[in-house]
Amino acid sequence: MAVATDQVTLQVDGVSVTVPKGTLILDAAKKLGIDIPIFCSHPKMEPVAVCRMCLIEVEKMPKLQPACAIPVAEGMVVRTLTDKVKQYQQGVLEFLLINHPLDCPICDKGGECPLQDQTFQYGPGASRYDFQKAHFDKAVPLSDKIVLDRERCILCWRCTRFTEEISGERELALIKRGVHTIIGTFNDEPAQSVYQGNWTEICPVGALTSRQYRFISRPWDLDRTPSVCPGCAMGCNIQIDSRHNKIGRFQSRENLEVDDGWLCDQGRYSFPYFQRDQEFGSPSIRRDGQLAAVSYPEAVAEAAARLQRAGSSAAGWASPGATNEELFLFQRLFRETLKSPHLDHRQQGIHETDPEDIGLPIADIERCDHVVVLGGQEVIDAAPVLHLRLHKSQRHGVAVHRVDEVKAGLAAVPAEATVVGVLATAARRADAITLQNQLVSKVKGSVRRLIVVRGPNGRGAKDLGILPHLGPGYAVLNGRAGRPRAEWPKAGIRALYIYDASPLQEFGATEAELDWLRSLDTVIVQRFKPSVLDEYAHVVLPGRAFPEKDGTMTSMEGRVQRIATGIDAAHVWDDWRILQAVANAMGAGWPYRTSESIFADLAKAVPAYAAAAPAQGRVLWGER
């Protein structure tokens, strides 16, 4: 229980509320369900009180006070519904609109615009302003991703503060002054940030809009589906907004433990890769050197027959963009049905792959006192939203050391450090473990690591045994280990099954591997969009893109999260269904009807997954 002195009791509109000391009036009111209108205020940024929308009455204070910036005090009496407040709210909205173009009918924001909504709720019915409005540039390209409409801008500073406080890039600034003030980049150079999409989400008007989404849809026409970003292993929560069964945009779906409400542009603007903007071919079988369209059952039968001929000399590669359910079935197909141990999900090289124990959950970066980013920018490039968490932590006093070498990382952290984190990409996992071990002997506190694996489900692929030397749950294979992908061309492999689940994490064959593919008896390609591999395939099994299926993904920190079907592709078989059909054609007898039923079996095979199922909100093998 909190200590009494840390709590403050105040009254808002006659109702008492007790909140922690330091709470802003706005948040205390929110706790009571009292909505104070805001524009500039943002829960993740320091209060600036520039828009003046949130002014309310506080007893004993002669002037109206900004609820977004004033902390509560014991015995404070706040009034948000007085005539004085209401009259002022009309006044400030009238001010905000005198130079606003009111082009709502053609504005992307219309329908989800705080300015529009609050004008309806709190504004005057009509304006008394009868002069020419101040005119500014419209449709200013800020970058290849963002368009700025300077007339719609109400100068709330959210975007400029984002680039200062959230990303630390200081890319947007206020230029000129007074009514002529505009937002812009230095010298009008294109913005370089990889977090620009967030600007459009925090903009309380239609000033900053995404080029990809311009004039695509009205918000009320969108279907919204919760999902997880397919870009990288970070596991940022997204919402797939679609219209007429087409993806319109990805929006963030705040998860404080993971993304803190932000997305990177790589992830946000990746949706065209998953757009079924044309038909991507039916199942097909190579006959006389040409791919010929067949039905799913025919293609499945052909694939099964070919795989069965290869038996334990078949190899399987599955993308780290596939769901846990699909990966689980994929490894069962190989280990149980074909008795082949040759499984992999990795692209090139062999990375040592042990369980990710002593892991550092993403949100715990903020609770470290020292964080070593081994590889610096390459770690950020692999999971860009990680930078925002690091920047936030740094602002709150966490020492973040960006180093290239283990030695430098060891030197950067003092012996007194109590909570230390090591961040690295999978490519430098061995170095990260070396550093972690050395730090453990040096510092007095704990040292945990966070490895940025490849792909949104690279972690799941490891956990579920899409590896030649470890089974599901990192089970040791006792001499039954297979060969890693790099050795396949020289391992007597006769058939290769490539499950190329995501255009963002493709098989990515080298020239040498393509030569090898050409020499193989059997190449089976299961994929979403046509790819170069189709040329080498004997059987092509078209599957679905991630917005078209449901299942779970495991992020790099070991968080198992659900993706849901947002786009209907009923005419295309679900990927797990294809895998099950291939296995069953060889007599496997799997009974799955839904991805949930697969997860149930998966959780039995890897019990940690039962404990970390999406509903649990926990990370795998985590302490919390």
């Binding site: 520039v50 003046r52 002014l55 002037k63 400030v92 005198i98 100068l155 000129k176 007074g178 003030t181």
Partner: protein, 428 residues
């Protein structure tokens, strides 16, 4: 009646702008006395006891302001606000030009009193000769050992940085000044925290006006009791009044607090020019509310002027004769605030723009019935609602003019023209 000269008593003495001349008039004696005989805390008490109130505009107790600094938090900074930009104000310019050392000595006393080792002077960018005078004075003071390490063997270290502003009125507002001094856009900061707690570079900071610190050597030399005998109950000492407008002898006049306005305008200023009648006057500068001939016997003092319905502000006295169009005055002033609005907050940014449009329309004879009320309502939505006093102040003069001269506004509207156009004279 004459002026009561304290700050300006030696003005005109030969070489006053230079160290030797200033020392001849007793200059830097107060500083030496402070260093040798007084503890910082005693100095703060002395200034509190003197009743000195800030001369920048708000009239806040100087000693009280100093005592808001949190104990034991260092470094702490002293910043002298020499960004005098209020239309109608030119007293700091006069003080800096005529006797820059007096300002420097006052600054050094203040720095010693509050335990500041690095002080700043933020001077208006347009004040180039005054900047040069200060630069010269600082160099001389440095050379004489008044500025530097272990000043005169007292153990007190002090340095002064002189910084030129870049031409924004808003930077006269103390938090905007600090922001600008740090190298950012000149925009006011959220208060609280007040500068005393979190000011320049996040450190405890005192911002004092030029005239305020120029008064300090006299308080130290003659004692707080002497100072407290001058002026009124709540306004001690003298003030420089910058008189301009339709008056025979415009200029700076140092007056005892509480002396009647009539003395300033008529006895010292020689009355309204061209034998015209006094229509109105405005104490405090462009921001402040207009007063009428009926207020001529009000005392030149913070509280008396406030009671009369205006504010003493930074000590300007703008005199308007009977040919002055009050609508045009409003238009000019509001246009100024519109031009100088930093754009940070909505009411000031949009409100000054809209008010300018309305006032221009009325002055051009295109006003609409109800425009005066529209201005009042707009003023109500700006005053007390904007982020800093710039927005608030933009509404005070026009609203007071509508209060006293509503007929004039309505005459503009009904006659579709400015009744003063033919004989209008440029003011301010």
């Amino acid at each position: 009646m004459a002026e009561k000269k304290i700050l300006t008593k030696d003005f005109g003495a030969p070489g006053l702008a230079h160290l030797a001349g200033y020392e001849q008039t007793g200059g830097y004696q107060a500083y030496q006395k402070a260093l040798k005989e007084l503890q910082p805390d005693a100095l703060v008490e002395m200034v509190k006891k003197s009743g000195l109130r800030g001369r920048g505009g708000a009239g806040f107790g100087t000693g009280q302001k100093w005592s808001f600094l949190p104990k034991g938090v260092y470094p702490r900074y002293l910043v002298i606000n020499a960004d005098e930009s209020e239309p109608g104000c030119f007293k700091d310019r006069y003080l800096l030009e005529a006797s820059p050392h007096q300002v420097v000595e006052g600054l050094l006393i203040a720095a010693f009193a509050i335990g500041c080792n690095l002080a700043f002077i933020y001077i208006r960018g347009e004040y180039l000769p005054q900047h040069e005078a200060l630069e010269w004075a600082l160099a001389e003071a440095r050379q004489a050992g008044y500025i530097g390490k272990n000043v005169l063997g007292s153990g007190f270290d002090v340095d002064v940085i002189l910084h030129r502003g870049a031409g924004a009125y808003i930077c006269g507002e103390e938090t905007a000044l600090l922001t600008s001094l740090e190298g950012y856009r000149g925009e006011p900061r959220l208060k609280p925290p007040f500068p005393a707690i979190k000011g320049l570079y996040g450190k405890p900071t005192v911002v004092n006006n030029v005239e305020t610190v120029a008064t300090l050597p006299h308080i130290v030399s003659n004692g707080p009791d002497w100072f407290a005998t001058i002026g009124t109950e709540t306004g001690k000492g003298t003030r420089l009044w910058c008189m301009s407008g339709h008056v025979n002898r415009p200029g700076n006049y140092e007056m005892e607090m509480g002396a009647p306005i009539r003395e300033l305008i008529y006895d010292l200023g020689g009355g309204v020019w061209k034998n015209r009648k006094l229509k109105a006057f405005q104490p405090g500068g462009a921001s402040m509310m207009v007063l009428l001939p009926q207020h001529l016997d009000v005392g030149l003092d913070f509280d008396a002027i406030q009671k009369a319905g205006s504010l003493a502000g930074a000590g300007a006295m703008v005199v308007m004769d009977e040919t002055t169009c009050m609508v045009d005055m409003c238009r000019r002033y509001v246009e100024f605030f519109h031009h100088e609005s930093c754009g940070k907050c909505t009411p000031c940014r949009e409100g000054t723009f809209w008010m300018t449009n309305v006032l221009t329309r009325i002055e051009e004879g295109e006003g609409k019935a109800g425009d005066a009320d529209l201005l009042l309502e707009m003023g109500n939505n700006i005053d007390g609602r904007s982020f800093c006093p710039l927005g608030d102040a933009s509404t005070w003069f026009p609203r007071s003019c509508i209060k006293y001269f509503r007929d004039e506004f309505e005459q503009h509207v009904t006659e579709h023209a400015c009744p003063f156009r033919k004989e209008r004279v440029m003011v301010a």
